[in-house]
Assembly symmetry: C2
Homo-oligomer: 152 residues x 2
């Protein structure tokens, strides 16, 4: 590996760490004060249900890289708030199928559009090309992360 590469990798590491830090702070600030709607895990669970349809707890846990018990509790909270429903899995007596309710999807969509607006605001002076490139490269980075996790 060349020195330049080393430096670039170091920068990527730095920027990702920073992004995690600021992203967390931003989530806290927007989610708690303004809307008081959804915490982190609830949001990703609802997004996943929206993308991939109803599924059981284990599938959610596997896809989100979370412990089953974590998902169980998040799902319980979501159910209490009427954002998802549990139904027994007809094909497996042990399982429960989790489906987002209309209210849940609406809540999720509201958060998503608020965040999208926020990005639009922050990236107001970016060119369309740069935005598209960022989206594409982040997608590839995530894919690389997924592949790495799968490989063990």
């Amino acid at each position: 590996m060349s020195d330049d590469d080393e430096i670039t990798l170091g920068r990527i590491e730095t920027e990702v760490a920073l992004l995690m830090r600021f992203g967390e702070a931003t989530r806290r600030a927007t989610g708690t004060a303004e809307h008081r709607v959804l915490d982190r895990a609830a949001y990703v669970i609802l997004r996943h249900l929206d993308n991939s349809g109803p599924q059981n707890v284990s599938a959610l846990a596997a896809q989100l890289n979370l412990d089953g018990s974590t998902v169980t509790r998040q799902v319980s909270a979501l159910q209490r708030d009427g954002l998802i429903t549990r139904t027994p899995d007809p094909s497996d007596g042990r399982g429960t199928v989790i489906s987002a309710t209309t209210a849940g999807l609406q809540r999720m969509a509201a958060v998503r559009s608020a965040r999208t607006r926020l990005y639009g605001d922050m990236l107001a002076d970016w060119s369309d090309e740069d935005r598209a490139t960022l989206a594409a490269l982040l997608g590839r980075l995530n894919q690389a992360l997924v592949n790495r996790n799968r490989r063990r």
Copy 2:
């Protein structure tokens, strides 16, 4: 805003959310099992001390977007482990200046290089250009986040 822009912003929102999720999982996996060296906040604090030199608790809290009490506790843990030292601020009797020790810097550097190696591994099939572009765009994204936070 055009429809295409809207879609791109949505993708950026999605990818950042995913990155946070996977990044968290990765940190947990690498930090805890393999090395058992540094938790998240400790790492960013040491990095910050390395970059910006000794400084007091408030400065750290402001730069890292953390509550002062959080930094106080993190710093206490770091001190207990011999990774930083506290010295009274000569110019302000209320303050304490936090400095990284050699051991602290070494520990941080070890984590950083492990992570950098990890990125090198994951991004093995990326072109140098793509890596450099990702680093640059992430940097700009973080800058945009910082600016937004500053503006309120």
